[in-house]
Symmetry: C2
Subunit: 205 residues, 2 copies
């Protein structure tokens, strides 16, 4: 259940805490201090204590955090203790790469369908699925309980597809198209755009 | 020339300012206020004025910013007024999607080579190039003046490849592998990881 008073920047750090705790757990270590956790991630121990304090008191004075307990709590907070059904729209080169990316399923994001509007692509194999027509979107979302959509379409098509997704009931969109979507309140969009990321990197060169 | 007192979070907003100014310029509009720019991007006008003040005084009292002038200045600050040569390591599904992504070249990021260590892939076409052996890395970086590398290899191979890249002279790495690289000072790494992004989104569902 999301708490609405938690800053987005804090929420964005929680997966990093969880991933780091997963690594630590693999080594068999059972307790971790906020200092050690911070050193792994590159944030201060004070930041970690403050971030986690939004959700409760997880640490023990002088002992630190119990690794397995904090992992379980973070999974619960991020709602990662269940599978999520994900729809990909766009079966181009990017859609293929995404449909074949095994890390999604390992992390409980199950790619349940890939849609495209290109007749030449519909029916073709993609990952372990077959490409379906974009017209089946509403049905797929309803029948397969899709919660998250990944937009892998060209920028010029992105807004129209996003509106179809929202009309079909999708509330979370991961957008790979280099554009900014206009969406109603209650719909959450995250963007992945390598060009923007590269444009930040050249500053440092 | 990077100024070292500018917070990273400010630098990360500059490409968004530039992209938004590009959209505004396409409409023929010549002046824009910080309020209007902020509305487009979703940050406050005070934030925009503060961010830009790190780099000089670009606005005119009551008139706002000259769109073309501010675009040119942001391009200069981000060093986007020149082409950058980019190397992709990894010719799997992701490497193919990246090599075929036209937005890179449109934004002056020229994919100059794709390397892989799989004999079955070497010599195969990818985008407009042919896959080259990973052994040619140092030569490619030197001869083609590569400044930026994109890591599209599995997580288990990422650290070793990053070390080879750094030894070859690369100072900027965009890492798609779901891992954290350990790099010496002076090397800049940015990460793109859809799983981490999805793990943030489920919080809001």
């Amino acid at each position: 259940m999301p708490r609405h008073n938690v800053p987005d920047v804090v929420v964005r750090r929680l997966p990093l805490y969880l991933q780091t705790l997963n690594h630590i757990a693999e080594t068999g270590q059972q307790l971790v201090s906020s200092t050690e956790l911070g050193r792994w991630i590159g944030v201060s121990s004070a930041q970690i204590r403050k971030d986690l304090s939004y959700f409760g008191a997880f640490g023990k004075q002088r002992l630190g955090y119990e690794v397995d307990y904090l992992r379980a709590e973070l999974k619960r907070i991020l709602q990662l203790d269940q599978d999520w059904h994900v729809l990909i729209v766009g079966a181009g080169a990017l859609g293929h790469a995404l449909a074949n990316y095994r890390a999604f399923e390992e992390q409980h994001f199950v790619i349940t369908a890939v849609l495209d509007n290109d007749a030449a692509k519909i029916g073709q194999p993609i990952g372990l699925l077959l490409v379906q027509p974009v017209e089946s979107m509403a049905q797929v979302v309803r029948e397969r309980h899709v919660e998250i959509a990944i937009l892998a379409v060209p920028a010029r098509a992105a807004q129209a597809v996003a509106e179809q997704l929202i009309a079909s009931g999708v509330r979370s969109i991961l957008c790979y198209a280099p554009t900014t979507l206009s969406v109603p309140e209650g719909v959450h969009v995250a963007y992945i755009d390598p060009v923007t990321t590269l444009q930040t990197m050249t500053y440092y060169l």
